[in-house]
């Protein structure tokens, strides 16, 4: 349903002045997403409102569900029904979506969930936060990995949303876009290139591989199974229980259980090198580093440059574009040895944990720079750097 006259309503190549939330939805449409289900919540409502306007224009369908549980469940039905589907929410809603994310993982369902995080716990507040980055990885019940991206600009709200769909289709898994209010509400320039230059990945199909319905294993054949959608004559029985490759759930055994979970884990973690991305600056020869992600990176890089230029501090910078699977190998390639690593986050040091796990043998001093509910000012990061180095 993604092809048709409505395609002309996609963003044409050019320059746009958009909010991050709007850019995110435009990226989704560009990636071929045609189903959006949502439930209003600050600060994610702008994405939903933009989707309500834009989805029917390109032949997609938008629905306001009764709650976030329903929204996330819609993605499962829509994805197996053959559409690329998304929702956008904020932290309390993200909590409600965890069960569907978990079922999305075991059923290997491509779906994209945008979480524009707000501070918490509870209702917390409606401003900026990065307090869901651990929930992104560990919030769903049961073992099974996830892919989570962290956009840092309006441009990346567009680009990484496209990438989120590509990754979810390629690896048949839920992909999270962990955004924050400062970038979701920010307006800045979005540059859209020619359609032909935007790489779009679609799920691999048994039909294309010559696999007949009688021989089809919905969760087999390869590291990532080709996916037959409902309605294509493959009589796919979607299951949420641990299953054999053909979806059989008759005889539970520890072996079936182990194989099923291992498959889900290794599919993502075993391919972290291919999936995970970081961005580096000034890393060669530096002894001190700032590692950040998401909108905090905007402040961090400002502070890093100021520290280098005005304070003459030797400082390298790494930005995690992918939070999960954790880019451990990329990080170890970028930082071979360090005196101090500064980690500014809009939480009290959540991503510090995997960073220490990855670099603990190469650095003794990890300094968290928290800012709760509000984007760090460059002064906050700078003063900590000056104080420690």
């Amino acid at each position: 349903m993604s092809k048709g006259p409505q395609e002309r309503h996609l963003l044409k190549p050019g320059r746009y002045y958009l909010q991050g939330s709007e850019a995110c939805v435009e990226g989704a449409l560009m990636a071929g997403c045609r189903v959006f289900a949502g439930y209003p919540i600050t600060p994610a409502s702008e994405a939903m409102e933009h989707a309500a306007r834009r989805f029917p224009q390109v032949g997609g369908r938008f629905i306001q569900m009764e709650d976030e549980i329903g929204s996330a469940s819609v993605l499962i039905g829509a994805s197996w029904g053959g559409a690329k589907a998304m929702t956008a929410t904020s932290s309390p809603g993200f909590s409600l979506m965890q069960e569907a994310i978990s079922i999305g993982i075991i059923s290997e369902t491509p779906m994209v969930i945008v979480d524009i995080q707000r501070p918490g716990p509870g209702q917390g507040y409606i401003t900026a936060s990065q307090e869901d980055v651990m929930q992104a990885r560990w919030g769903h019940h049961g073992e099974g990995s996830i892919i989570a991206l962290a956009p840092a600009s309006v441009q990346e709200m567009f680009d990484l949303t496209i990438q989120a769909f590509n990754l979810s289709e390629k690896w048949r898994t839920p992909v999270l876009v962990m955004a924050e209010e400062p970038v979701a509400h920010l307006r800045e320039l979005l540059r859209v290139g020619a359609r032909a230059d935007i790489g779009i990945i679609n799920r691999s199909k048994p039909q294309d591989l010559g696999i007949q319905p009688d021989d089809y294993l919905p969760w087999g054949h390869d590291v990532v199974a080709p996916m037959a959608n409902w309605g294509e004559g493959y009589s796919v029985n979607f299951v949420g229980l641990v299953h054999k490759e053909d979806g059989n759930v008759t005889d539970w055994s520890s072996e079936v259980n182990c194989n099923c979970t291992k498959r889900l884990l290794s599919k993502i973690e075993g391919n972290a090198r291919e999936i995970a991305q970081i961005e580096t600056r000034f890393v060669e020869g530096s002894r001190n580093f700032v590692i950040s992600y998401g909108s905090v990176s905007r402040t961090a890089i400002e502070a890093v440059m100021e520290a280098r230029e005005q304070n003459g501090i030797d400082l390298g910078y790494v930005r995690l574009k992918t939070l999960w699977p954790f880019p451990e190998e990329n990080l170890r390639a970028a930082i071979t040895s360090a005196d101090t690593i500064f980690i500014p986050e809009m939480n009290f040091g959540m991503m510090r944990h995997p960073i220490v796990e990855a670099l603990g043998d190469r650095c003794r001093n990890f300094v968290s720079i928290p800012s709760l509910g509000i984007l760090h000012s460059p002064e906050l990061i700078l003063s900590k750097i000056v104080e420690v180095t």
């Binding site: 029917p56 029904g81 409902w230 059989n248």
Partner: protein, 267 residues
Amino acid sequence: MLKYLKEEGLMGPRLPLLLCPGCGHGQVLNYTLHAVDRIIKEDKMAKEKLLFISGVGCSSRLTSHYLNFDSGWTIHGRALAVATGALLANPEFRVVVFSGDGDMASIGGNHFIHACRRNMDLTIVCMNNGLYGMTGGQQAPTSPRDMITTTTPYGNPEEAFDLCKMAEVAGANFVARWTTAHPHQVVKTIVKGIRKKGTAFIEILSQCPVHRKANPADMLETFKKMTVPWAKAKEEDKDKIPIGEFCDHDKPDWNASYEKILDQYKS
């Protein structure tokens, strides 16, 4: 009706059904497949257009891996939301939702109300046995007052939920109630439900011989005695459960309404 079931998969046998002896849900599956057989034959409907969705519970287990159709055995309470998603992706699907009373009326109550309100093009077959079977016979929102269950050991202090009234008030196009002791009526009503555009809510009182500790055939007899066709109900029937087709409207379903929005951008 075995032709519609997967007796054997690529990795081993799938039948017999994982249900207790005499369970009414197996009967409902049988009735549904008879209805589906009629639809496929009479309406020349392609088998691929049919989609069976369920949540979690005894009744939901029917879609798990037995059906020779596309199916989704999804999340407890979320069958209607998942089915809604399938219809957003492809409005051509004829979706049958299998659900239990706990799945539909308790954990999935919100989706139940709103699927009916939206008049999503679904045929909901709700198997009501008045308790939670798979978890061990606990009280359900449909359990009769004073009923003893494992979580109401002193008798159920709550009133039972009338799901048909709820569905009708919420806006479903078609609402009916039968029991497993009314096989031909059930088949006829499910045929009607699948043909119906918009939400068709069909409640079927179904026996749980294990947790009700009764003989299945006796329970079927009880179903006949405790129900009355609503149109024929007399004063002395006031304590009986009304059965039959309660409403039959032709309001546009969600996708038909959304299609009008889509049409603006089609040319």
